[in-house]
C-alpha cells in the first residue's frame, strides 16, 4: 500500500500556513511584516483553491487563484505606497504609532 497525497493533506498544510499568517498579523507591529503575513494567508487560501479544484475535477479553482493573485498584486501596490507615504511623514513603519484616528 502506497501513501497517496489526498486533497486533505494540502488543505491541512494550507490551514497551518493560514494560522501562522494570522499569528504574524496579531503579534508583529512592523507594517511590512504584517503585510507579508497577509500575503502568507492569501497564499494558503490559494492552495486550498487548487487542491479543491483538482479534487472535484474542475478548472475553476485555478481561475479563482488567478483572480486572487491579481487582487493581491493590486493590494500590495497600494499598501506599500501607503506605507512609504506614512514613513516619509513619520519616519516609522510601526502600526502602533498610527493611532491618530482613534476616537
Amino acid at each position: 500500500m502506497s501513501l497517496v497525497v489526498t486533497p486533505g493533506w494540502y488543505m491541512t498544510l494550507a490551514a497551518i500556513l493560514f494560522v501562522i499568517g494570522a499569528v504574524g498579523i496579531l503579534t508583529r507591529r512592523n507594517a511590512l511584516v504584517m503585510f507579508m503575513s497577509i500575503e502568507l494567508m492569501l497564499n494558503a487560501v490559494n492552495l486550498t483553491f487548487i487542491a479543491a479544484g483538482r479534487a472535484i475535477g474542475s478548472l475553476d479553482g485555478q481561475l479563482a487563484v488567478f483572480f486572487v493573485l491579481v487582487v493581491a498584486a493590486a493590494e500590495v501596490v497600494v499598501g506599500l505606497a501607503i506605507i512609504v507615504a506614512i514613513f516619509r511623514r513619520r519616519q516609522s513603519a510601526s502600526v502602533d504609532e498610527l493611532a491618530d484616528m482613534k476616537g
Partner: protein, 176 residues
C-alpha cells in the same frame, strides 16, 4: 510516491518560510522566508497540474511583489528596533489562545472530517480535466470569466493610478 516525497519536502520548506516571516527580527529575513514559502507553493501547484498558476506565482509573486517588498524595506530601513510593548492588554496571551483554538479545530477536521464532499479522494479519474495549461486556463478565462477578467484590468489600472498619486512628492496645498 513521488508526489508524497515532493509534498513533504515542499510543505517543510513552506512552513519553515512561514515561521521565518513571523519570527525574524530582521525584515529582510522575513522577506526571504516569504520568498521560500512562495516558491514551495509554486512547486506544489505544479504537482497539482496547475502549471499556469505556478508560472504566474513565480513571475508575479516571487518576482514582482517580492522585489517591491525589498525596495520598500530598503526605503524604510531594516535596522530599526521593533517596539513590542503590548498596547492592547493581554494581546500575546490572546494570540496564543487563538492559535491553540485554531489548531484544535484543524486537528478535529483532519481526524474526523472525511472530506465527503470531494467525490474523488486522491488524484481525479482524469487528470487531464484539471491540467491547467496556459491554453486551457485562457479558454476558460476568456469565455466564462471574461467580465471578471475585464474587472481585474480596471482594478489594476485604479491601483496603479492610486499608487502614483500616493507616491507623488508634489504636495497639494502643503497641508499640515
Amino acid at each position: 510516491m513521488l508526489e508524497l516525497i515532493i509534498f513533504v519536502l515542499m510543505a517543510a520548506a513552506a512552513l519553515a518560510g512561514a515561521v521565518a516571516v513571523v519570527r525574524a527580527r530582521n525584515t529582510v529575513y522575513a522577506a526571504m522566508g516569504l520568498l521560500a514559502t512562495l516558491l514551495a507553493m509554486a512547486v506544489l501547484y505544479v504537482v497539482q497540474l496547475a502549471h499556469m498558476v505556478a508560472a504566474v506565482q513565480v513571475i508575479v509573486y516571487a518576482g514582482a511583489v517580492m522585489t517591491l517588498f525589498l525596495f520598500v524595506i530598503m526605503l524604510v530601513g531594516v535596522d530599526r528596533h521593533e517596539d513590542t510593548r503590548e498596547t492592547i492588554p493581554h494581546q500575546r496571551r490572546m494570540t496564543i489562545g487563538l492559535v491553540v483554538v485554531l489548531l484544535l479545530v484543524i486537528g478535529f477536521v483532519v481526524v474526523n472530517g472525511s472530506f465527503d464532499w470531494i467525490p474523488v479522494v486522491g488524484a481525479p479519474a482524469d487528470p487531464q480535466l484539471t491540467n491547467g495549461t496556459v491554453q486551457r486556463v485562457a479558454e476558460e478565462l476568456f469565455t466564462g470569466w471574461v467580465l471578471a477578467f475585464e474587472a481585474t484590468a480596471l482594478l489594476l489600472t485604479i491601483a496603479a493610478v492610486g499608487a502614483i498619486a500616493l507616491a507623488s512628492t508634489r504636495r497639494r496645498r502643503e497641508e499640515s
